[in-house]
Amino acid sequence: MSQSVTASRNGMRFAQGDMETNQRAVISALVDNESGVLARVVGLFSGRGYNIESLTVAPVSDNGSMSRINIVTSGTVAILEQICAQLDRLVPVCRVVNLTECGPHIAREMALIKVVSAGEARTEALRIAQAFRARAVDTTARSFVFELTGATDKIDSFIELMAPLGLAEVSRTGVAALIRGPQTI
């Protein structure tokens, strides 16, 4: 466990540079895997008027006693700091880190994208899918379901390109995220 990541929260905090603009942030929390924990986290966001862009949650420890919640949110530096402090205050929350604040990190999501088309549009969709390294996981004469993994903006642009080519349905996971390098939360 890295001490430096949490030290900023428990020790001294001073005003930082750009205070007023809204920033996008990925916040990861390790929580006790108990009933109601997700409701506490989500209720905190809605109750205090914070924004949730996406949210993922799944057990991450060997015995299933801990889950990791990754939340993409946005706000000023002060709001992001409040979000982390408020999350950390919840009894079943063990650790909270704003990944965006603690340096380079990887954030990936997976999407399933259904495209229904024929003729030139169908061929073009397949060509673009290859360029994006999306896999066709379901194929019929009239449709494809592509599986695509990557950063949020990569998936956004793939969907945008599919829009005129028969885009029919999208299912996205929201992000899973880790700090780069040996550091952990």
């Binding site: 905090r13 209720g43 009894v91």
Partner: protein
């Protein structure tokens, strides 16, 4: 505690006198082990097994209230006047929903409570069963934490953990929802674990570096000010005593929040009284002009800060709190210190004595000269017509209750309802000891005072317990006169009766063109007869000449008394920072009321 020390050898289901314990008996045993002496509650279908177990023991006393909300307020006052944990027992469905207001009140004011709540049996949960409510769902944002016990083997450990969470870190209410099949069925008893919960280990030791920087700033301060909140009182008597000695050592002025009254003696010359919307002129001007602000166990509530961007604009801010989420929440501070207030004060004292140099006596003297000039304005002054037939002013009544109750020399506990009378009580009662002032601060719950008086009197049977009430607020929980009668609690209820929801009327006068929409208390009961019907002594006073004798007689009466003090209807509570205004633009009295008419639309939108 001693009856249950040899339990570790028992495995599986606990056997006592040759039989297995029921869940309800395990619950009682856990409560006893947690040192619980009193439970405030109200029975119902889902908690019948618990009431049966209560009936068959004599270690825990049950106080039967007349409404579940009152049970929670009584437990709050019990907790806040003793430093122990308040315990509430209510039934499922309406029992639980009635308790919600009290739970949120306790959450906002950081009061340690455990609320035990009946629930329909586990197999019926989710079936819209009779008196079923999603209690953990409803109370999730109204508690510090809550549990639904679904397995008998989790019962004892859950109850023990609930107490640990309620009292540790920033204290708060914890609810345990108990399905009836769990309390009826057999359950194993397990003693409390010494292991804290992995995910909940609040930081209590302050960072030495933060203390060093804070004390260095205090030593260099020219215009320092202590701003002390309820967190210091929650840290206990010792923390308050140490703080008092420290403040006297530094020679700095000290202002207290509504919740912090009593943490530092109110009669001490270094006390500036309460700050904020109805705080004193000297406290607010000092907050505005200070150069080092030392906030201890306070949370920069909007009633304290007024307009945020104009709050104490020139000061270097030190903020000590046990709850990291309070730091930089409303006001950006320069030195955050996370930890227990008592430990922080001790560390500050040590650091103060270790760092070279003393505070600059000369600059401090000129700071005090400024403060004394503000104080000379005597911002709490009012004029009471001295004629015997004169109408009593509410401020005068409250001040006389303070002075005459002080004369009795008895240990006093003062509860209030919410509104003008509450603010006047905060202004005029000077508390020299902590835990004597019990009021609803954060949530502002009308109807708090009478049940709180029940809790305070149960906890302190020999003390003088006074509820300063408004006629509108007190009617919200007036049924507690029944509890007061049943347990022969000698509570003194003083109703400051101005026939209005006074604070609502005041805001309507200042901000809404004196259109008193629905704020007049029409068709009030005859409070004397009401008191008598509840077996209490009822008194009424309408003219100045009778005020002192009535108060004295009420205070001397051995039983419960309700005093209806008929006061002038149109008094406003001053001084006042109108909403949206900074601290240095206070309204000092009726002659300055036009200041309020200039309040902007944004100001009007604030509560």
């Amino acid at each position: 505690m001693n009856a249950i020390t040899n339990t570790t050898t028992l495995s599986a289901h606990t056997i006592e006198a040759g039989r297995t314990l029921s869940g309800a008996e395990v619950l009682i045993r856990a409560l006893v082990e947690q040192g619980v002496e009193v439970v405030f509650g109200y029975p119902g279908g889902a908690v019948l097994p618990i009431y049966d177990a209560l009936f068959q023991q004599d270690k825990i006393r049950h106080i039967l209230v007349r409404h579940e909300q009152a049970a929670v307020h009584a437990a709050e006052a019990y907790a806040r006047s003793t430093g122990k944990i308040g315990v509430v027992l209510v039934t499922s469905g309406p029992g639980a929903t009635n308790a919600v207001t009290g739970l949120l009140d306790a959450l906002m004011d950081s009061v340690p409570l455990v609320c035990l709540c009946g629930q329909v049996p586990v197999p019926l949960i989710g079936n819209d069963a009779f008196q079923e409510a999603d209690t953990t769902g409803i109370t999730r944002p109204a508690t510090k934490y809550n549990y639904l016990v679904k397995h008998p083997e989790k019962l004892a450990s859950t109850v023990h953990e609930a107490f640990a969470i309620a009292r540790s870190g920033r204290p708060g209410p914890v609810l345990v929802d108990l399905p009836k099949n769990i309390t009826v069925g057999d359950a194993p008893y397990t003693p409390p674990s010494n292991q804290p919960r992995r995910s909940y280990q609040p930081q209590t030791e302050p960072a030495p570096e933060a203390i060093r920087i804070a004390v260095a700033a205090m030593k260099a301060a020219k215009r320092p000010l202590f701003y002390v909140g309820g967190g210091v009182i929650n840290a206990g008597h010792k923390a308050c005593e140490e703080l008092t000695a420290f403040i006297r050592q530094t020679g700095f002025p000290c202002t207290q929040t509504l919740m912090g009254l009593g943490a530092f003696p109110g009669t001490d010359p270094q006390s500036l009284g309460m700050l904020g919307m109805h705080g004193t002129y000297e406290a607010n001007l000092a907050t505005h002009d200070c150069d080092v602000l030392i906030a201890l166990g306070s949370r920069f509530d909007d009633r304290v800060t007024g307009r945020v961007d104009a709050f104490s604009p020139k000061s270097f801010k030190i903020h000590a709190d046990i709850d990291p989420s309070q730091i930089n929440k409303i006001i950006r501070v320069d030195v955050p210190i996370v930890g227990d207030a008592g430990k922080i004060i001790s560390a500050m004292v040590q650091e103060w004595n270790a760092q070279p140099g003393e505070a600059d006596g000369q600059t401090l003297e000129s700071w005090w000269a400024k403060i004394k000039a503000w104080r000379a304005l005597d911002c709490l002054r009012f004029t009471q017509d001295q004629a015997p037939e004169a109408i009593i002013k509410p401020q005068h009544a409250i001040r006389r209750i303070h002075e005459l109750s002080l004369e009795t020399g008895r240990d006093r506990f003062v509860t209030t309802e919410v509104g003008q009378h509450q603010m006047w009580a905060a202004q005029f009662f000077q508390f020299d000891k902590p835990m004597r002032w019990l009021t609803s601060g954060g949530l502002g719950t009308m109807g708090y005072g009478l049940p709180a008086a029940v809790g305070a009197q149960v906890a302190n049977p020999d003390a003088l317990v006074i509820d300063i009430a408004g006629e509108a607020s007190t009617l919200m929980n007036i049924q507690e006169l029944g509890t007061i009668a049943q347990y022969r609690l000698p509570v003194k209820l003083f109703i400051i009766n101005n026939h209005y929801m006074g604070m609502v009327r005041q805001w309507q006068e200042l901000l809404h063109g004196s259109r008193y929409s629905e704020s007049y208390s029409d068709a009030l009961p005859d409070f004397v007869k009401l008191a008598e019907s509840f077996h209490a002594k009822g008194m009424q006073v309408t003219r100045l000449a009778d005020l002192d004798t009535t108060i004295r007689e009420a205070l001397a009466h051995p039983g419960a008394v309700v005093v209806d003090i008929c006061v002038s209807e149109n008094e406003n509570c001053f001084p006042m920072i109108p909403s949206g205004a900074p601290h240095n633009e206070m309204i000092l009295g009726p002659e300055q009321e036009q200041k309020a008419h200039k309040i902007s639309r944004e100001g009007q939108a604030l509560v």
